[in-house]
Symmetry: C2
Subunit: 433 residues, 2 copies
Amino acid sequence: MTKIAAAGKQSIDHLSELAQRIEAPPISWLMDQKLKYPDLISLAAGFTDGPSLPAAEVQKIFKTITRTKKRSMEILQYGVGAGRDILRKLTASNTALLDGQDEHHPAYRSDRVLITHGSQQFLYLLSEALFDKEDIVLLEAPTYFVYLGMLQSFGVQSRSIPMEPDGLNIKLLKETLETLKRTGQLSRVKLLYLVSYFQNPTGYSTSHAKKKAILKLVRSYEKDAGHPIYILEDAAYRELKFPNTPEQPSMLTLPRARDRVIYSGTYSKPFATGIRVGYGFLPEPLRTILLRIKGNHDFGTANLLQAVVEEALISGLYASHLKQLQAQYHKKAEWMCQSIEKYFSDSMTWNRPSGGLYVWANAPDHVSTGPGSKLFKACLKERVMYVPGSYTYGEDLQPNKPDHAMRISYGNATLSEIQQGIKRLGTALRASE
Amino acid sequence: MTKIAAAGKQSIDHLSELAQRIEAPPISWLMDQKLKYPDLISLAAGFTDGPSLPAAEVQKIFKTITRTKKRSMEILQYGVGAGRDILRKLTASNTALLDGQDEHHPAYRSDRVLITHGSQQFLYLLSEALFDKEDIVLLEAPTYFVYLGMLQSFGVQSRSIPMEPDGLNIKLLKETLETLKRTGQLSRVKLLYLVSYFQNPTGYSTSHAKKKAILKLVRSYEKDAGHPIYILEDAAYRELKFPNTPEQPSMLTLPRARDRVIYSGTYSKPFATGIRVGYGFLPEPLRTILLRIKGNHDFGTANLLQAVVEEALISGLYASHLKQLQAQYHKKAEWMCQSIEKYFSDSMTWNRPSGGLYVWANAPDHVSTGPGSKLFKACLKERVMYVPGSYTYGEDLQPNKPDHAMRISYGNATLSEIQQGIKRLGTALRASE
């Protein structure tokens, strides 16, 4: 696809370099398929569970926050750029609590928090603050594909480190850093990006031992890099753990983490995706820079959205809703696993998730899962869709991106769609083996 | 102020070029003064009128949009990147109506609309799509200072064209374009930025005759530029016209405007600034590019915010509230003008606004209004604050930025604060003359 065709058959030579680089997100092609085949069961979308959305809770919250004219006036006016004071404090103390830390621990100070329009905006602001064209980011392989698209638009290079069930392969991370050092490219390395809880797309979580090892290893290359190498811990799925999954501390708990680890989270997925409120913890001077950039984006996340989340947290409605949601996703995940056991052939390998929204399944080496593959076509014919694994690998793996995996989501599908979808997928798989 | 000090006394050499360029917004210094002197009357902030915020309306809207579980579920889920279909259609037809055009006019097609997190986000996305470092933007002088800060962060150059009561000086626009042509810089000119209704900061509106002349003139240089030169018509204050001010058509009504004029507007200022929903109309390939960039920012403006605005429009609550608001700002503006007549000396010149939030006042040539000036200090002593005019001029006017004007806002202040504030300002002015 040429650049010209990509942007509606008109030349884009006169636009910015970013405009000329940015490509249509692969997910939009998947969404087009869904429009084309309305009876298609999509196990591709990362949408959250519809019936679990907190309708009654939000109704209550609306009543509370508009009870007095004074309060209504406050939430309908501009807020401040960094986010509401109380929401930042609640975010700080709740994160400390999840991490089993005292709320006075300096890593969880509320003046390190920035509230954003979804955690996606936080990822974007951080990218703007860190990256110039040709800079290098270390990535898990596979990783979150929207982040890959963002890096591509910034002209940033990736270096992929294979993901394992307990986090990325430390030995290969070291090898990558060594190669970068040897080839004089370490000065361009700005960030290591980790989706550390129930990763999108694999569902894997990074163990505490690996978090420790990663921080230590990355720091040991800073002298050669000549500058800090930050680690972004994207904890978007952290609160979507299943009821019996133990809580794992974040990298913020580690010694010497505070000035290197950037931690991001979200209230959207655990509460309501139509309410886009995310957040990040970050050290200076980065926070000041992100705050300035955000001032140019939007002067701060809509005060009303923040007020809704704040009231959800204060009233306990957030916590009670989350508890139900965790049980609901657990049920759906188990249902998907049972369906897979029933309908997939033994040649498929896959993981049983302990949180998050995804099952990551691997087909045998001779079966491609790509969007043009025999399997994908068979799936469309059967009216079922998944996210092709190749979408989730960094550009540095071209032209040999792994092409045998699929991300299957139980987030938005109903129990009956999950069963039916997996059955259809099983049929398509058998037809393609 | 060095770059290092600006970002909290730590080196920022390792951050992006944008991070190294971006400066603290001047408005944050003003906000610090307000914190320092809590009894200060701020006529600086562009905040909107508190008591006029639509508290009762929003309460009603919340009830309606959460009446059924089905509707609640829909608005609490992710939306689509471009914005809600119905909201885009309402935006298109309402803008056509304001412009006195048939809703089937091709300039007002809803597939040309992009809904954003406030119109500020629209300005940002467009900048990302158009500008590389060293590109050139033509600006009104004075102009919207947040936009100036954004351009500075992108490393974009400005060329300032003096503003007159009916829009920028056409002769000087032509001279500027001629100079750019002669010096071979026309190829870097990407955009002319106009705040065409009740401009921030002057309150001036661009006449229809000048809109026509501007479009014709700018188009006539495209051949030499070698690419389209877009015109951004920022209509943020359009709906804040006073009751008797006649409606003025936008540039979208002009022949051959559709593929060059980008029009932006907002629902935040006319309804509630805590609900950040803005929009833009734009031609391809730009709209596709902005949509992709927005996908990386946030996957689309929070569905809940859009649903609130959509219901406000459908129910008629937006229109009825706006009518009251227009009358309220008219009253406050008149009150400010009366106070100025009473308390300012005759050596001050100023405009009587017909909409928007601002009075633009000019002191005699020997009186500086800058943040370090005798006058500004006298104002702080008297406990009153304005936006120094020098903040609102492009960097190309350095080191000779006009320094004798002030933006005074009646938006957020009460009637008594307006009178008291203007009285204090008059005292400070007399002490500084």
